[in-house]
């Protein structure tokens, strides 16, 4: 490690930054006030209004996107911090004229009413199923050292970061369960 109290580190004095980020597979360049959250960058600067602003405090999950493949709450991420990284929002889960299996399952199971939380539910479920396939345990997993069966209790616990004021939860659980079963994500593999 170099430097010390007398070093000559210079800090960019501006309150804005140039940010390059891959969004849904395409590289985008923006100049943003440092206060801009990733959520606001998507919605206000890139016209990607799928991710929703619900609570704006990391509690409701409607802003969930995938950052380098992992689900995060975009309202608590400053866009300047994701420079050089990759973001997938609900618009990137499938091509413009197609549905991902998860999206199709949400429709088949009537897993939403007003739809406001749905983009966050979809991105969260996508990230969650990846976590399950990597063998990550959850708070309701009995044995931490063996892969969990993706029971309804597991789905509910793992999706606890996404609220649905219409309370479509039973149908969301059914849609996620079907998608997991179809892709072999559950512990059977």
């Amino acid at each position: 490690m170099q430097g010390g109290p007398e070093n000559t580190t210079t800090i960019d004095e501006r309150h804005s930054s140039r940010v390059t980020v891959e969004i849904n597979g395409a590289s985008r360049e923006l100049t943003l006030d440092n206060r801009t959250t990733l959520l606001d960058a998507l919605r206000e600067h890139l016209d990607l209004t799928g991710a929703k602003k619900g609570c704006d405090h990391g509690q409701c999950g409607s802003c969930t996107v995938l950052l380098d493949g992992r689900r995060v709450k975009s309202c608590l991420v400053f866009a300047v911090t994701v420079d050089g990284r990759s973001v997938v929002s609900v618009e990137g889960l499938a091509g413009p004229d197609e549905l991902s299996p998860l999206q199709a399952a949400f429709i088949a199971h009537d897993a939403f009413q007003c739809g406001y939380c749905t983009p966050g539910q979809l991105c969260s479920a996508r990230g969650m199923l990846d976590e399950v396939s990597r063998g990550w345990p959850s708070a309701v997993t009995g044995d931490l050292n063996s892969p969990a069966d993706l029971t309804d209790a597991e789905i509910r616990e793992r999706m606890a970061g996404n609220l649905c004021r219409c309370a479509a939860y039973p149908h969301i659980v059914a849609a996620v369960r079907e998608t997991a079963g179809a892709s072999g994500t559950a512990a059977t593999r």
Binding site: M1, N7, T9, H15, R35, L76, A139, N145, G161
Partner: protein
């Protein structure tokens, strides 16, 4: 939100040097607490030093059998680490009981330890709070204090520490590795946090600008039999109404060693030394566990709305230890 400059340091020394040179700078980790507090106007840094790209993101098995966890290891990665799951289940359980999947993907080890209280008066800039604004008073002391401290509080502050991770680390006698303006130092976690006293704005013993670089778990074979029990107002995604981290080492039915720490009861993760003393050397029984909890909680001073935390903490002590004894 106040406008701020943004800096990504090349190494730890540079990060610490920027904090030393900029009195209103703050480190940014996962942002799950700081970004929220900036939106609320509770924290108003003018420089953010983003430490998440520093090379502090590895978990390393140590020759002595311990584990060294870098400060920017995310909570979800740590909870999923095979050695943590096998050798320190109390740690994996504490992490998994906290927040939500998205937030665990973001939150860092170091940031988790330094997160701020969720006392609603601290988070509301319209209310008196000695922690947020020293000398302004404590609106919580005679206010809605159901979620707040029962142990070791002061007239100036009744806030609790919100971390689950810190409770598990307290039980494990973790060493916190920090880089201070003067250089690196090791701090036992028991010496990291302060009681509120007359200066609740000082939450830790760290000098301003200190960066946590890692935490080090000592080897503790007994921790293979350990757990974390947390009770919340709802089934998931909530801060603790009460929690206990427990490690139990039995020789036959006699307690050879035990580690207990409580969450949601004090300004710091509460290591229950008195309870441990009651348990050690005696044949284990649920009654003994209850007496041990009572010994610890005899010093409690519940507030108007949080007396329930005493029987709750007693009950989860009995349940956690009884489960471990029969596992």
């Amino acid at each position: 939100m106040r406008a701020f400059r943004y800096h990504r340091p090349a190494d730890v020394a540079e990060a610490v040097a920027v904090l030393a040179a900029e009195p209103q700078a703050a480190y940014l980790g996962g942002g799950t607490n700081l970004v929220d507090l900036m939106k609320l106007g509770v924290q108003r840094p003018d420089v953010l030093v983003d430490v998440t790209r520093l090379p502090l993101d590895t978990v390393e098995e140590l020759p002595d059998g311990g584990l060294r966890i870098g400060a920017t290891v995310r909570n979800s990665d740590l909870a999923a680490h095979p050695v943590v799951r096998r050798d320190y289940p109390v740690l994996a359980r504490a992490l998994l009981a906290a927040a939500s999947g998205q937030l665990r993907n973001m939150a860092t080890t170091g940031g988790n330890l330094l997160q701020r209280t969720r006392c609603v008066y601290f988070q509301d800039t319209g209310k008196a709070c000695n922690k947020r604004e020293p000398g302004s008073g404590c609106a919580a002391l005679h206010g809605q204090n159901r979620d707040l401290a029962v142990l070791d509080w002061s007239e100036q502050c009744v806030a609790t520490h919100p971390s689950d991770l810190a409770v598990a680390l307290a039980a494990l006698d973790t060493v916190v590795e920090v880089h201070e303006p003067d250089g690196p130092r090791d701090i036992p976690i028991a010496d990291l946090y302060r009681s509120p006293g007359t200066h609740p704005e000082r939450e830790t013993t760290l000098a301003r600008g200190t960066l946590i670089t890692a935490v080090r778990l000592p080897p503790l074979p007994a921790a293979r039999r350990s757990t974390y029990l947390k009770v919340r107002d709802r089934a998931s995604f909530a801060f603790a109404a009460g929690s206990v981290a427990a490690v139990l080492d039995l020789d036959g039915d006699v307690v050879r060693d035990v580690r207990l720490a409580y969450g949601a009861v004090a300004h710091r993760p509460w290591r229950a030394y008195r309870a441990e003393e009651e348990l050690r050397g005696r044949p284990f029984s649920p009654d003994l566990a209850a007496r041990a909890a009572d010994a610890e909680l005899a010093q409690a001073r519940p507030l108007r709305h949080n007396g329930f935390k005493l029987p709750l903490t007693r009950a989860i002590t009995v349940r956690a230890l009884t489960e471990l004894a029969s596992s």
